[in-house]
C-alpha cells in the first residue's frame, strides 16, 4: 500500500499535542508525524521528535573558502601588478588582512544561508498536503503513513478535537 499524507487541523496547541500523544499510542512512528504552525513553538512543545541538523558546519566551510579566496585574491593580484604605493611592501599583511576578513565573513554567511535552505529541505518543489488556515493560527498535524492506518489516524484526530481533517 502507498504512503499518503493526512492532515488534522486544530484550533489550539493542547489539542494538537493530544493528537500527537494519541498517534504515538496508536503506534504511528514519530518520524511520520509533523506539526505545522504559523510561528515557532518551543522545541518539544508538542512532544515531537528532536530535529538534528548540521548547520554549524556550513559557516566553517564557508569561512575557510572565503579566507582562501581572500588570500589568493589579495596576494596574486598584487604580485601580478607590483606597483609600490606609500612605501608599503607589495604583500602588505595588514591591508590584506582587512580584505581577507571580509572574504572570510562573506563566505561564512553565504554558506550559512545555503545551509539553512538545505537543512530546512527547501525549496520544496512539490506541494504537500497543506491548509491555508495554518497561517491563521490553526495547528496542522500532518501524518504521512500507510493508507490502511488512515482510519485509525482519523479516529485519533476526531477524539482530540480536530476542526477539520484533510487527505490528498
Amino acid at each position: 500500500m502507498a504512503r499518503r499524507p493526512i492532515l488534522g487541523l486544530f484550533d489550539n496547541a493542547n489539542s494538537a499535542a493530544d493528537a500527537g500523544d494519541g498517534l504515538r499510542r496508536a503506534g504511528i512512528p514519530e518520524t511520520d508525524v509533523d506539526f505545522l504552525t504559523d510561528t515557532p513553538y518551543p522545541e518539544g512543545a508538542f512532544g515531537e521528535r528532536e530535529e538534528p541538523h548540521k548547520l554549524y558546519i556550513f559557516p566553517f566551510i564557508g569561512a575557510l573558502l572565503g579566507l582562501t579566496s581572500g588570500i589568493l585574491l589579495t596576494s596574486m593580484t598584487q604580485v601580478a601588478y607590483p606597483l609600490v604605493t606609500g612605501g608599503k611592501p607589495i604583500l602588505s599583511i595588514p591591508p590584506m588582512a582587512v580584505v581577507c576578513y571580509e572574504g572570510t565573513m562573506l563566505g561564512a554567511i553565504l554558506f550559512t544561508v545555503l545551509g539553512i535552505v538545505f537543512e530546512s529541505r527547501l525549496p520544496k518543489l512539490k506541494a504537500g498536503l497543506y491548509d491555508n488556515r495554518i497561517t491563521e493560527g490553526y495547528i496542522g498535524v500532518l501524518v504521512n503513513t500507510e493508507e490502511t492506518q488512515h482510519g485509525e489516524v482519523e479516529g485519533v484526530f476526531g477524539q482530540t478535537g480536530a476542526v477539520d481533517v484533510k487527505k490528498q
Binding site: 591591508p95 539553512i116 525549496p123
Partner: protein, 458 residues
C-alpha cells in the same frame, strides 16, 4: 514589560498585511512626489557627469564635501538594522520583535543609497569598476588592495549581501503567510518566494538557529564596515585631524547612535501611516529611548577622546584644524549646533519616561540626532581638508553648489520611497516574530500582583 491588547492570529495577519493588501489613499501621491524629487536629482547627476565636477563646490584642497559626508551619513544609518536585529536577538530582548524588520530594511536601502554617493562623487562613475573589481585580465591591471578605498567596497558589498540574505531568510515564513492570503499573480509570486514553506518543526528550528547564527556572523561585519569607512580618513597621515587611532570605534558608535534614532523615527512613522498602534507600542519606543541614552553617552565619550587626543599631541597643524572647527565662522556655529543636537537635546528629552513615550518628542529627539550626526561628518571632513597641508599650494573655502544640495536631498527621498515600496509588497513588521512573542507570553502571580512573564527555551 508587555503592554497592548491581546490579538488573535487572524487580527494580526489583517493588521500587519494591511500595507500590502490595501493601498492607502496617500500612498501613490507620496510616491509620485518622491519620484519627482528623484527625477530632478537624476537630471542634476546627468548634467554633472556631462560637464564635470566643476559644477560642484569641490576644489583643491577640499576634494571631499557633501557627497562623501552624505556617504558616511547613510552608512551610519545602515548600522541600525544589525544593531537592533542582531544584538537584541542575541540578547533575547522581547521588545525587539516589531522593530527588527524595519531596521534591517532600512539597512539595505541606506546602504544602497550610501553606495551611490562615492560613485556619483567620482565624476566618471564607470571608472569605479576597474578601481574596485579585479576583472581587467586583458591589461593585467589590478585594484590596489593597499588603499582603504578598495577595502571600503569589499566591506560594503559583504555587508549588503549579508544583510539582504538576512532579511530574505527571515521573510520566508512571512512569504508563506502572504501566499496563503493572496490570489492570482501575487499568489504565484509569493508561492515561489516561500519556496514551499509549511512551518514544520524542522523548518522553524532552522529558522531560529539561523536567526542567532546569522546575527552572530553579521555583527563582526557590521563593526568592520564603518571602521573601514573611518579608515578612509584615518589612514591619511597628511590630514592631521583624520589620522586618529580612535576613528574606527568612534565612527561605529556614532553610526549606531544615528541609525537607532532613525529606526525609532521610522517606526513612529510606520505606526502612524499604517495604524500599527497594537504592534509598535509606546513600550518599544521607550525601550529604544533608553537604549539610545547609553549609545549617545558612549558616543560622547569617543567624541571627547577624539578631540582631546587631537590636542594632546600639541602638533601645530592639528591644532589649526581644531581651531577651524571651534573658532572659525561658520564652522564654530555648526560645531555648537552639532554637539547640542547630537547629544544634549536628545539625551535630556530621553531622560524622562513620559517624554520617551511621547511620540512627538521622540520624533524631535531622533531627528535632532540625525541633523547632528550629518553635521559631525561634515565637520570632520571639510575643516580637516580646508587647512593648509604640506605640499598644498592652493587652498580655498568650500561652499556646496546647488547640484550637491539637490543630490544630497534626493537621497532622503530615495530611502523613503524605497521603504514605502517595500512596505507595499513585503511586511515591515515580522509576523512570525510578533506571533511568537504572543505565544510565549505568560504571567506570574506574586501576591496580589500579576507580573508579565515569558517562556524561554534557554
Amino acid at each position: 514589560m508587555q503592554e497592548g491588547r491581546v490579538l488573535s492570529t487572524r487580527e494580526m495577519n489583517r493588521d500587519l498585511l494591511r500595507s500590502i493588501l490595501d493601498t492607502p489613499r496617500w500612498f501613490w501621491p507620496v510616491v509620485t512626489v518622491l519620484g519627482l524629487v528623484l527625477l530632478i536629482a537624476a537630471i542634476a547627476i546627468g548634467i554633472m557627469v556631462n560637464r564635470g565636477l566643476g559644477v560642484t563646490g569641490l576644489n583643491r584642497p577640499v576634494a571631499w564635501g557633501f557627497f562623501i559626508t552624505n556617504f558616511v551619513f547613510w552608512i551610519g544609518i545602515s548600522h541600525a538594522g544589525v544593531m537592533l536585529s542582531a544584538i537584541l536577538r542575541l540578547a533575547k530582548a522581547e521588545w525587539r520583535r516589531p522593530a527588527t524588520r524595519a531596521a534591517e530594511v532600512l539597512t539595505l536601502f541606506s546602504l544602497m543609497t550610501a553606495m551611490i554617493m562615492p560613485i556619483v562623487h567620482t565624476g566618471r562613475p564607470w571608472r569605479i569598476l576597474y578601481w574596485v573589481f579585479p576583472y581587467d585580465f586583458a591589461r593585467g591591471i589590478w585594484p590596489n588592495i593597499r588603499t582603504p578605498l578598495v577595502w571600503d567596497p569589499s566591506a560594503i558589498l559583504t555587508y549588503l549581501t549579508s544583510s539582504t540574505l538576512f532579511v530574505i531568510i527571515a521573510l520566508i515564513p512571512d512569504f508563506a503567510v502572504l501566499r496563503d492570503h493572496t490570489t492570482g499573480i501575487a499568489h504565484r509570486v509569493y508561492s515561489v518566494l516561500a519556496m514551499g514553506w509549511e512551518g514544520n518543526a524542522r523548518q522553524w528550528k532552522l529558522q531560529i538557529v539561523a536567526g542567532v547564527l546569522l546575527s552572530a556572523l553579521i555583527l563582526p561585519v557590521f563593526v568592520s564596515v564603518h571602521s573601514i569607512v573611518s579608515w578612509d580618513f584615518g589612514m591619511a597621515a597628511s590630514v592631521k585631524s583624520w589620522h586618529s587611532t580612535v576613528f574606527a570605534p568612534y565612527f561605529v558608535v556614532g553610526a549606531v547612535h544615528s541609525g537607532v534614532s532613525a529606526v525609532a523615527f521610522a517606526l513612529i512613522l510606520l505606526r502612524w501611516c499604517y495604524g500599527w498602534q497594537d504592534y509598535i507600542r509606546h513600550e518599544h519606543i521607550d525601550a529604544l529611548g533608553r537604549l539610545l541614552i547609553v549609545v549617545a553617552t558612549g558616543w560622547f565619550y569617543f567624541l571627547v577622546m577624539e578631540i582631546l587626543f587631537g590636542m594632546y599631541g600639541r602638533e601645530p597643524d592639528e591644532l589649526m584644524v581644531r581651531q577651524t572647527q571651534f573658532t572659525y565662522w561658520p564652522y564654530n556655529a555648526w560645531f555648537i549646533v552639532f554637539v547640542i543636537t547630537t547629544y544634549f537635546i536628545p539625551v535630556i528629552l530621553w531622560l524622562s519616561r513620559a517624554w520617551r513615550r511621547n511620540l512627538w518628542i521622540m520624533s524631535i529627539a531622533c531627528i535632532s540626532v540625525n541633523i547632528g550626526m550629518w553635521l559631525e561628518r561634515f565637520l570632520i571632513i571639510v575643516p580637516g581638508l580646508i587647512n593648509k597641508q604640506l605640499f598644498t599650494f592652493v587652498w580655498a573655502d568650500y561652499r556646496p553648489s546647488i547640484f550637491e544640495i539637490i543630490i544630497v536631498a534626493a537621497t532622503f527621498a530615495l530611502v523613503t520611497m524605497l521603504m514605502l515600496l517595500f512596505s507595499r509588497v513585503f511586511p515591515l513588521v515580522p509576523l512570525y516574530d510578533v506571533k511568537e512573542g504572543d505565544v510565549l507570553k505568560t504571567q506570574v502571580q506574586i501576591g496580589r500582583r500579576t507580573v508579565p512573564a515569558t517562556f524561554r527555551e534557554d
